[in-house]
Symmetry: C2
DNA sequence: AACGATACCGCAAACGTTTGCGGTAATTAT
DNA sequence: ATAATTACCGCAAACGTTTGCGGTATCGTT
């Protein structure tokens, strides 16, 4: 609804000049006399004039808005990403339109379409777990829209990416488990169509191989949420007497399995060492405190939006796509 | 930058009709013949025509965008609020522009101004902890923009609100502590210019009074973050031998103080019972599991956006402002 | 005095969409 | 045959902003 907001046309009428004079005066354009500029600026201040971003966006073909699609906002890692994005975007004068896909392909597609309709200047996307088809991303990129994939990247689309060195992190933490005497390590894995799932499993596998420990299929379980820990409780408990370590693909899953073990008489880390991936705040709250791999959500978010804004503000600079890989850091605590 | 996106004008040229014909045909307007409507619609589909939301917004004076300002996105409670908002907004066809104030008044003010510039249809705001002056809210409301305050409300502005029954929750949990034998209960409070801080302290005070227990100023400490628990560690540890319960204003603070006590030889809940407010996932991760008051962020977010959209979609319905108060539920676990 | 240059402002089109209302041809009623 | 009505489409203005370019008055040079 019309909110009696003052426009350039209103100012023009009030001062008896044209809208183009007002527009130029507000920009301190030398074609407009100093006197007229001063009159217009003073009046604009007095009526709290603010340019309409919709009109500006239509005229300039820029909306100063970035579109973000993440799987789940409540997931701590994703909320730190958003926080990092928002902090830098705010300082650079960009607004954020944030959507969550809730791991649903269709919702991701519809949200992406809506962001395109709103003429966002660029996109930051972490792909849904259930996205197996990428035309919606292709469509966006074909429009020349800069897009940075974050964490959950789509390998079919050539574009900038910001990821954690999942392989390295998994390798580090598995190596740590082995070097502290663990030999039979269960890996609670993410779905393998996700790069992070694959790379963390690869890191785990390679670390075992590096220590001449054979890979055992029965020690790899797809289980990447607390809900799935519950769903797999019988399996996990039947394996428990035969293992001495667990590397879970994220902290929530690690803590869920740790608590399951503790509730069933196992002592962590004495009986079974447990490690996660993420270094969420819960890692410090859990007892024992969780050994995990730090994942720098905030910094990743900041870097992703920095890369995006660099493309937006240098559109003619033909720059090859980059993948920025954040190194993983092992956080040694009590659980492993 | 122009992304070669098809406009109504492009379709009009291609089909040899006028833009107004195309616009009407796309809306199945009876003034346009069936044959022309069919031709236009088929062509629009074939070129993936999508209306430009900026142009639509300018013309219709509606942007189908809601502005949200919250203190901190990484704070679990706020991320659940966003999730609730986003789920309902998505289903009703609204986009979200989300900003965080980082508890800074100036950033809240600038973010609010930017949302107004973008002509968001309505606002959902949880006030910054450091907001003591409300002209920026008044300015928004004076423009006739619907605004719903969430959780951290501003009492000087008449508008819709969604809150937790902080008083009731605090009363419930303090009563529980008393009824399980605790007599000297430390309250770790939020700043008193925040309604939630005041009401939770009031609930605590009233519960003590209800049980003929005198209120002691030395048992009220402003301390509402883990960082402040560290800052107040000497004070808390000097009080510890003289108290038998703690009611902290939020879960993070409760768990931080619980861990401080445990690290200094106290047993929870045997020596000192500890309760929080919020029922974040960390409540279940902490050991002992935290007794706390459930705060329904997701449902509050959903309700807030429902109220906002109801006003947007019924602008002529003169409806008094409401405050929806979500009841608090005590979650009894092991820490108290 | 005449001509050229400059200061200062406004016209009009454009971005993309919607819609009130008018024009014209075809159809229907008298 | 003529008048009235209707179907179907387009013109033009509007939402709010920007900007290329032209008009006019004033000033400076010859």
């Amino acid at each position: 609804m019309k909110h009696n907001i003052t426009s350039i046309n209103d100012i023009a009428r009030a001062l008896g000049v044209s809208a183009s004079t007002v527009s130029r005066a507000l920009k301190d354009h030398p074609d407009i006399s100093r006197e007229t500029r001063a009159r217009v600026q003073a009046f604009a201040r007095s009526v709290n004039y603010r340019p309409n971003a919709l009109a500006l966006g239509l005229k300039q073909q820029r909306s100063f808005t970035l579109g973000i699609i993440l799987p789940e906002i409540v997931h701590h890692f994703f909320s730190t990403i958003i926080s990092g994005i928002e902090d830098l975007a705010y300082s650079k004068g960009y607004r954020l339109m944030i959507c969550q896909s809730n791991e649903e392909f269709e919702r991701e597609r519809i949200n992406l379409q809506a962001l395109l309709d709103h003429r966002v200047d660029g996109l930051l996307i972490s792909m849904s777990k259930n996205t197996f088809e990428f035309d919606h991303f292709k469509h966006a990129v074909e429009h020349g829209l800069p897009l940075v994939f974050l964490d959950r990247v789509c390998k079919d689309i050539e574009t900038d990416r910001v990821v954690t060195d999942d392989f390295q992190g998994a390798h580090l933490v598995t190596t740590h488990l082995i070097r502290t005497g663990r030999q039979r390590i269960l890996h609670l894995a993410a779905p393998q169509h996700l790069a992070i799932g694959r790379k963390r499993l690869q890191g785990y596998s390679e670390a075992l191989a590096d220590h001449n420990i054979g890979l055992s299929d029965e020690l790899i379980l797809q289980c990447d949420t607390p809900t799935q820990v519950l769903a797999n409780r019988e399996k996990i408990l039947s394996l428990a007497p035969t293992i001495d370590g667990i590397f879970a693909v994220n902290d929530f899953t690690a803590i869920a399995v740790m608590q399951l073990l503790q509730e069933n008489g196992f002592v962590v880390p004495a009986d079974i060492a447990v490690a996660g991936f993420g270094d969420d705040p819960i890692a410090l709250i859990a007892r024992p405190k969780l050994t995990t791999v730090e994942q720098k959500g905030y910094d990743m978010g900041k870097e992703a939006v920095r890369m995006l804004i660099e493309r937006l503000e240098n559109p003619d600079k033909e720059k090859g796509f980059e993948t920025k890989t954040f190194s993983a850091t092992l956080k040694l605590r009590e659980s492993a």
